[in-house]
Symmetry: C2
Subunit: 315 residues, 2 copies
């Protein structure tokens, strides 16, 4: 680590450290786990030019980096605690980039009640490469798994699907986005924390790689068949305005950060009430059944609809 | 995440996952913290071309990545539990690279008793970029801090200093290394876990950025002056053979991963006994005192010796 890097850490990252981060001055952070709780941990990396445009506003990069990790904590039914951060940046990266990035982290630390616990800052001959490891806590045995779906469970999804891909197109200027709502969905996903769904859901996961692919993961992990009624998949007004082709790519694409939830039929009222209390829209889009563990699309006429790239032509 | 990436994770990384890693199939890992212990967490990133030569044997890359993080756990007086891993690799990275990298991780998982808990695999247009977040546990309040050194404490260091920088030169072919011992020191640092030093040391940290710089951190964090008797700094036989200039660069350079320990005079016998029991050499190299919080070098004649780049010409 070079002296210039200490200065950078002191200016931009040390102010983000909570008490457990020990001012980012020690070899590691120390925290006391909440009594009688299990620890939930997840890590995600983001690379400039892969996960965000190289010229993206650095504040949004910081916020998205935290939020994609918080979405994984939410998908386990856990409450967030804090995070570690590694930053590999080219020599000569503007100080303003780090300042904006840290502002984004600070804003979302306040929003979600987490603190920076530690990390590492290095140079790289490549693009800016970031990783966050996020910690949460959950009651013993209560973490939601994607493998818990049972035959007869209904499949629900929060929010709307496809806006992540549409938002990327909007950020790239490939799609009109007069009110900026699509770009905002791509840049600032809303991790679905604070949904009081313990005792209601049998399985959960977040939609980060695309609805079709992720729903397939849940079906296979649970060893059950899944039929998605494609006409029920919730699409935003901006998504509908963007047209069928984009919605199709959205359903096959990623970056939605909504939750997929498997819910027994006798708990769907409780689900609706809990989601309404949290102000989070939730929509039934399919059902699990005994059968080959995979996902099938079904249209309004009850006939099979091919899923995946270009398959959602009925929208 | 692309299907090819799932396959890569299933083949190379899922076999490394412990029970808490949930087979790397969920959004996050879940583990139960050891009862009544605090959690210690640290993260380090490694970039090809910065932290290791781009053509380095991938097995060594995996081992070093774990060991630099384990060294931070050791420096806090903690015991390791497990880790999360992010891998950003160029499209087209050979499967053999991932296989070798995972072999290195597997070998050191067995050696140090840790497991993979989760992580992320992405593509990058840049060089291979890796990060590990390592967890450990420690008795409440017992973690060693670098800020605990007191006036009158002796400064000790484990092992030998300078071999990290010499080893890099050997790996690059810039230095003869007939028995390969220097290259091995650079490639495979020995995290100083299993030193039973609780109740003995007042402060500790690992030497990762160079003895002079890191000792200065301890002095400043503790608010005390530090004099290092440069003639006492332990140098390996290979280091002595390499000559004065290399040793000087070694003392100013990094990658040693030894421990700096501040020990009150009345506990130095206990320190020696504990280190001998663990088979770890330890050497007194200086003393803390009341005064300006910084580090000063002193030669055998008691006169000041300039520290830092090129300053260690007396070796």
């Amino acid at each position: 680590m070079l002296p210039a890097e200490f200065s950078l850490i002191a200016r931009h990252f040390a102010p983000l450290a909570g008490e457990a981060g020990l001012g980012l001055l020690d070899d590691a952070a120390v925290f006391t786990p909440p009594l009688g709780r299990q620890i939930v941990v997840t890590a995600d990396a983001m690379v400039a030019g892969v996960h965000f445009p190289p010229d993206e506003t650095p504040r949004f990069v910081g916020q998205k980096l935290l939020r994609v990790n918080l979405s994984d904590i939410a998908a386990m039914g856990a409450e967030p605690i804090g995070y570690l951060l590694t930053v590999s940046a080219p020599r000569g990266t503007a100080d303003a980039w780090f300042a904006g990035f840290a502002e984004g982290l600070a804003a979302d630390q306040r929003r979600y009640g987490v603190h920076l616990l530690g990390g590492d800052t290095t140079s790289t001959p490549g693009p800016i490469t970031l990783s966050v490891t996020m910690f949460g806590h959950v009651a013993p045995g209560a973490a939601w798994r994607r493998s818990g779906a049972q035959p007869g469970d209904e499949l629900y999804v929060t929010g709307t699907i496809g806006d992540g891909v549409l938002g990327l197109a909007a950020v790239r200027g490939e799609l009109p986005d007069p009110d900026g709502s699509l770009a905002s969905r791509y840049r600032l996903p809303q991790p679905r924390l604070n949904l009081a769904l313990h005792g209601i859901v049998n399985a959960a996961m977040d939609v980060s790689d695309g609805l079709v692919q992720d729903a397939g993961h849940m079906a296979r992990a649970s060893g059950v068949a899944l039929r998605i009624e494609t006409a029920l998949v919730p699409v935003s007004a901006a998504g509908r305005a963007a047209g069928a082709a984009f919605v199709a790519s959205g359903a096959a694409g990623g970056d939605d950060y909504e939750l997929l939830l498997a819910v027994p039929p006798d708990r769907t009222v409780a689900l609706a009430e809990a989601c309404a209390a949290a102000g989070v829209p939730v929509t039934r889009i399919g059902r699990f059944s005994l059968g080959p563990p995979d996902v099938t699309g079904v249209g309004v006429d009850g006939k099979k609809v091919p899923l995946g790239g270009g398959g959602w032509s009925h929208f």
